[in-house]
Amino acid sequence: ACGNSGSSKKVKVTILQGKVESNKQFKQIAKEYEKTHSNVDIEITSIGGGTQYNPVLKTRISSGNSPTIFSLAGPADAKQFKAYTADLSKTKAAKNALPGTVSAVSTNGKTYGLPFNVEGYGFVYNKDVFKKAGIDPTSLTSYDKLEAAVKKIDSQKDKLGIKGVFALPGKESWILSDHLMSLYLGQEFNGNAQKLYNSKSIKFNNNADMKQMIDLQKQYSVQPVMQMDYAGQVNQNFSQGKAAMIQQGDWIYPTIESVDSKFAKNNVGMIPIPVKGEEGKLPVGTSLYWAVNKKKTTAEQKAATDFLDWLYTSKAGKKDVVNTLHFVPAYKGYEGMKMPDALTQVVYEYSKDNKTIGWAFPGYTGTSWDPDVAQPNLQKYLSGKQSWDKTVENLKDGWKKQQSNVSN
């Protein structure tokens, strides 16, 4: 695909995106793109650290310095920046998007975001430990089986050289509130974030299952749970073989690799979290979407969509997506490509086989209910300060309150 020629002036495409860890790779890809598209000039700025991205985007926009392409984190973002997001449903990339991957940022048949990639999470396990313990991880398809296996591993902790079966990071409340709860709460909404985002109330009928799962992880985790953060969980315990499995996603692979590349290559695998009714399905979803700024000139918008189309649908682009960015593609047409690592391979395979459930949590991560209600209440329960019933009650009340205030 070519940009619009005729005008000799270069079209400038500025990109602001929130996946800092891929900054270098994106720049490299942009350079490559500019080589074949001499009339486009791409400038990429990457802002990371969660709360940092949003203010930068806002100030860029409000100071008249808005980017052509920017990233969105889900329906809440899409709503916030509604005035700036162009409809992308006509793009080639949108048409090729895997089913369900754009639902969170689509309304009335219009698509406002293109997924960066898909990610999946489950229990990432240590192959070696499981083998030594004599357990086949793929057989852990129900909670009971899981529990039995956990107890078995726990009983031979010393022999296996681990400090705990799990490593549950109590400080990273999103592990429970986003990833785990999504599985149980999401069932009510078929894993559809958009639906959850728009619902007035939640029933949370499966909360007892969730409790069971939390309790199990807590009891058999490396202690003290409340002191552990992401680095403690991944870098310090799992990657060093101190935990048999952790509840995490494919994105931890680079971290493991940076700690111990041999271990990463040979020893990690991932299984779905056994949730009643959803056994054998891996939660797969998208955490970031590309949006194109509708306030820019058509030429610029065109150049922007051209770039995205190129990235996700052209042959060269596809190679970059998989091999440079190490993304699990959220698009069709990647058949036969080998994913770069063991975890993405798992995700890719589950999604290829359609053995997935959608992510429901982007439906609430952008709302204040998540940080103000869900996370603190779950942490309170985890640290023993609050009963489970009270926790569930607070979660439900909080959601109701928030949704009635929004009243849109």
Partner: protein, 286 residues
């Protein structure tokens, strides 16, 4: 300098302009936004005092407020005592005093995030290792609850800021004319008496400045809060600034955040300025 004189105004102009453009005008805009439903980009309507009504019922805000107040009280005292103590220590002439100044000041040279990382490890691993060897139970499980979270924040803040406060005290200590100290020595004043009767009164401006700084910084503290506890566990260590930021960015409620900021400003200004005026009264022109 007469205030009708041209030079008075010329000397003040650059800073006044900068302050107006950078702080006051945006502040007034913010004040206006707090009466609207602003989302950081635009607003659709003016909502009057609704945001202010909301924030009064906002339990998180009230919790953050009291937590912050407690934090401020403790750190203001500790920082001033330790900062001044360090300043006095390193202004003694002994070998290595210059080196020590650098040491005490060094914590300021690193930014917030790294700080949190380092200290987390000290609290979680260093403390528990120490606790196990010394059989001191209270050294275990730091940062896992409100109390240890609070003291963790206090320790990090004190570690970092007291060198800062020290520097300011040193600058003022250096300004005391030597002859006055000599006169006090001749009058038979011991080191402690020289400090309480001469040095301290004469560095009263430093005390005012440092009180103000520790007070206002204590209220505004954000980085350490974010990097050490991130408000956790269960938001129990969330301070005012963090609550405001989270309101704005996590909940995308910018107008409410502005309202909180305004209330916050009024409270802090009242306390800090009161303190400044009280202290300024005791100062003397030499």
């Amino acid at each position: 300098m007469k205030n009708r004189s041209l030079s008075f105004w010329l000397f003040l102009t650059p800073t006044l302009i900068a302050l107006a453009l950078v702080v006051f005008i945006p502040m007034l805009e913010g004040l206006f936004y707090s009466f609207t439903d602003w989302d950081g980009l635009s607003f659709t309507k003016v909502v009057g005092f609704q945001n202010y009504a909301t924030l009064l019922q906002d339990k998180a805000f009230v919790n953050a407020f009291w937590f912050t107040v407690a934090f401020v009280i403790v750190t203001v005292i500790m920082l001033n005592v330790i900062g001044l103590g360090l300043a006095l220590l390193v202004t003694q002439k002994f070998k290595g005093s210059n080196f020590l100044r650098t040491v005490f000041f060094m914590p300021n040279m690193i930014g917030g995030l790294i700080l949190g990382f380092i200290w987390q490890f000290i609290f979680t691993q260093g403390f528990s290792a120490l606790g196990t060897t010394l059989h001191l139970g209270w050294l275990n499980n730091w940062l896992t609850n409100e109390v240890t979270g609070f003291w963790g924040l206090v320790i990090v803040t004190v570690w970092q800021m007291s060198g800062y406060i020290m520097i300011i005290y040193i600058a003022y200590l250096q300004n005391i004319p030597n002859e006055v100290i000599e006169a006090a020595k001749i009058d038979g004043a011991s080191a402690w008496q020289r400090f309480t009767k001469i040095t301290f009164p004469m560095i009263a401006p430093a005390f005012t400045v440092c009180m103000f700084l520790t007070l206002s910084n204590g209220f505004k503290i954000y980085d350490q809060n974010l990097s050490l506890t991130n408000g956790g566990p269960y938001n129990s260590t969330q301070m005012l600034a963090m609550d405001i930021v989270n309101t704005a960015y996590n909940s995308s409620n910018f107008s409410l955040a502005e309202a909180k900021a305004i209330i916050f400003f009024i409270i802090v200004a009242a306390i800090s300025l009161l303190q400044v005026f009280y202290n300024r009264k005791r100062e003397v022109d030499l």
